[in-house]
Amino acid sequence: MLNLRRNLLLRAERFRDFGLLVFIIVLSLVIQVRNPTFLTLSNINTLLVNASILSILAVGMMMVLIIRGIDLSIGSTIALSGMVSALTVSLYPTIHPVLSILEGVLVGAVVGTIIGLLVSKFNVLPIIATMGMMNIVRGLTFLVSGGKWISAYQMSVPFKKIATGSILGINTLIFIAVVIYIIFYYFINHTRTGRQIYAVGSNPEAAKVSGIPKTRIIWMVYIFMGALAGLAGVLWVSRFASAQGDTAVGYEMGVIAACVLGGISLAGGSGKISGLILGVILFGILNNALPLINVSPFWQQGIQGAVILAAIIINVLVKRSNERMALRHRVV
């Protein structure tokens, strides 16, 4: 009877991924019926390009959620890093785009370092630390930009080509996203430090006792998140050829929504890349398809909120029913 219980729980996890996949397929078909331009090569490409920035951020947020944290500041970090790199390009147009990217990553990493320090060493709650930083960094963005925008004509062609160009035939953004995923997939599944992230999230007290450098791990995760947000910032301003003070306001909600849809547990300790990819795709479909079936953009935030709420509640209900089933199979 113990085997039965084990099998059921194992299956429940696979089931979730499978169910999500089925849902995505069904949803796509429904949308396609309403608007046949949905499943065209060009639309799918747009969808993927849009989703790629989100997906880069989602990897970072997944790690943050695994260690039982949260990061509300990534929208502001995107804005700051984007603004800084855009400003640099407008002043030094000959700068190589790779350097611009590195610059953005550095800005993001600095923000992440500060947040990580606050959370891991000073025991500030992640929500407080990142809510505070969200506003500090946003304020800095306005300061740095002097309240002005950087627009397309101020950006060098190579810079703008970061987002519009292609590597090996695939759009650069998608390419970068895929590379990031491969790197982080390897990191969290096949390196010792990567697994320690899961350990810290699964049982922080045991991690401390087993000699896992819990403080350093937590710090590191926030630095990664910041760096990824920094990268996303450069890609963002390149893609939209514009850097503004209010870039990416509220974007963190979408990232969190994608993670939650992908089954990342809010209690920490678990989350798989496969689920994350499905969550990102589903979220990308929602964003892409809603305008196609004539849903007004003003509905977007409301739907997002409803989706997050529904997803977290469903996750809880599924977990509860699993536990109840497991208990039922225990013979007393």
Binding site: L2, R6, L9, L10, H190, R195, G201, L327
Partner: protein, 503 residues
């Protein structure tokens, strides 16, 4: 000349207000099973934490293989080859069994530092099979039962070629069958040259496993004996240090009519068919091994967790309890097992703790009358002889025994008919224990019905009128305490037949 693998000499450890270990000595030979026995609060867990490096001794020295060592943290003890398996499993429920085994010493490729999962899974499977377990190491740790998780912990110790394995109350949460498995595994470890220290206050473990036994009492080292030199009574004398009967007050018992009844209570996967009656003036002991489900039954009665089948009867009338406040309103109180986490608010003053269950009594239309709170608290605290300077003392500053009395004070402010005490003397020093027994006897005399959950056989025999023994979620037996013996209770708790205990 004996070559000991581990030796402690003159080790002492003090915490604020408490002397946890006092000039303790200890020696451990390789390839032996050495049992540490003692009552609650004797110092066993502090002893283990010093060996594993969680605590650093204030005085004394430790020698490993004859050489002096300082163990300042779990990393040091692990490097020496000391591994510990605790009662509360310190594992990672979301990670796989293999990961739990190899965490901290993963198998990696020398060149790329990549984790070599295939090798680790294979090795994990191998270790598990050596221990007689057949489950797949790839599954999540959280899906395993407690017994299986313990086996994984042992596999973990084996994977680091531990020379000393410490087991803390290993059979506490295990069924009879699982305990047998554990005994077999432990003996095999010993035969392979590993030194095993196990802590237990259960005779059964001592009988089946120990080669030698060391007894601690009240933070002091009492002695070390070979198994052959020791028997039940001598061991109990060493642990308790006094004639057993002296501890318990003589009670004049007049048991009146039925006050509370449980019929056919059950909760899926936890307990089933629980039925017993409680009378006014009676102390009913609820005993069994840890994990038998006693606390779960009490929490269902008290309204913390719902039950799926059965009924409750108070004074002959059927009642339903959906929440602790209903239980209290109907006259059923509960002193929880986790005194600090569920019984008290440590940051709060005494008077605030005492009045918490019945704030309505100390307020008018919701407005608090702190003067009446403080005065009533003063009355009750003086009645129970709680050692404190003023009602403004924080609960955290009290000793364990006084904290327990404080929770009893809390219960007494409510109008109760039935009081459930869950391990009331756990972690309480000897003097306070007697005081608590006196209080219980007094309450019984006043007509309360008392249910006492206890794992201490001695306590159960000394205080209760009747004993309900639970085993693996069901009632194994109900005895008239005066007419039963420790052996009978133990046998019912373990579910063994006549020969089981002396094998």
């Amino acid at each position: 000349m004996d070559n000991y693998i581990l030796e402690l000499r003159g080790v002492s450890k003090t915490f604020p207000g408490v002397r946890a270990l006092d000039n303790v000595r200890f020696d451990l030979r390789p390839g032996e099973i050495h049992s540490i026995m003692g009552e609650n609060g004797a110092g066993k867990s502090t002893f283990i934490k010093i060996i594993t490096g969680v605590y650093i001794p204030d005085e004394g020295e430790m020698l490993f293989n004859g050489k002096p060592v300082t163990i300042q943290g779990t990393n040091d003890s692990q490097k020496l080859g000391i591994a510990a398996i605790y009662q509360h499993v310190t594992s990672y429920p979301d990670l796989s069994v293999t990961e739990n085994i190899f965490i901290g010493h993963e198998i990696i490729s020398k060149r790329t530092k990549r984790l070599l999962w295939n090798q680790m899974h294979a090795k994990a499977k191998d270790l598990l099979e050596q221990l007689g377990a057949s489950f797949d190491p790839k599954i999540r740790m959280g899906t395993l039962s407690v017994a299986q998780q313990q086996i994984v912990e042992i596999a973990k110790a084996l994977s680091v070629h531990a020379k000393v394995i410490i087991m803390d109350e290993p059979t506490a949460a295990l069924s009879n069958r699982e305990s047998e498995e554990l005994y077999r595994i432990t003996k095999k470890l010993r035969d392979d040259g590993v030194a095993v220290i196990f802590i237990s206050h259960r005779m059964e473990d001592f009988e089946r496993l120990a080669d030698r036994v060391t007894v601690l009492r009240d933070a002091q080292y009492i002695g070390t004996w070979d198994k052959e030199e020791m028997d039940h009574d001598r061991l109990v004398m060493a642990m308790v240090g006094r004639e057993i009967t002296q501890m318990f007050p003589k009670r004049e018992v007049t048991i009146k009519k039925e006050i509370f009844r449980v019929e056919g209570l059950g909760r899926h996967g936890v307990f089933k068919d629980i039925s017993f009656t409680l009378h006014q003036g009676e102390i009913l002991a609820l005993t069994g091994l840890v994990g038998a489900g006693r606390t779960e039954v009490c929490e269902s009665i008290y309204g913390i967790t719902p039950f799926d089948e059965g009924s409750l009867w108070l004074n002959g009338k059927h009642i339903t309890i959906g929440h602790p406040h209903e239980a209290l309103a109907k006259g059923i109180g509960y002193l929880p097992e986790d005194r600090l986490g569920q019984g008290l608010i440590l940051d709060w003053e005494l008077y605030k703790n005492v009045t918490l269950p019945v704030l309505d009594k100390f307020s008018q239309n919701g407005v608090l009358d702190t003067l009446s709170e403080r005065e009533r608290t003063k009355e009750i605290i003086e009645l129970l002889a709680v050692k404190a300077t003023s009602v403004f003392d924080k609960a955290a500053t009290l000793s364990g025994g006084n904290q327990q009395k404080l929770i009893v004070a809390k219960l007494l402010t409510a109008d109760l008919k039935v009081i459930i005490l869950d391990e009331p003397t756990k972690g309480v020093d000897v003097g306070a224990k007697t005081a608590i027994f006196n209080i219980m006897g007094d309450l019984a005399l006043r007509g309360y019905g008392i249910i006492m959950v206890s794992s201490e056989m001695v306590e159960v025999l000394g205080v209760s009128d009747r004993t309900v023994v639970m085993k693996e979620g069901r009632i194994a037996a109900i005895f008239e305490t005066a007419k039963t013996t420790q052996e009978q209770i133990l046998r019912a708790a373990l579910g063994t037949s006549e020969e089981g205990l002396d094998a």
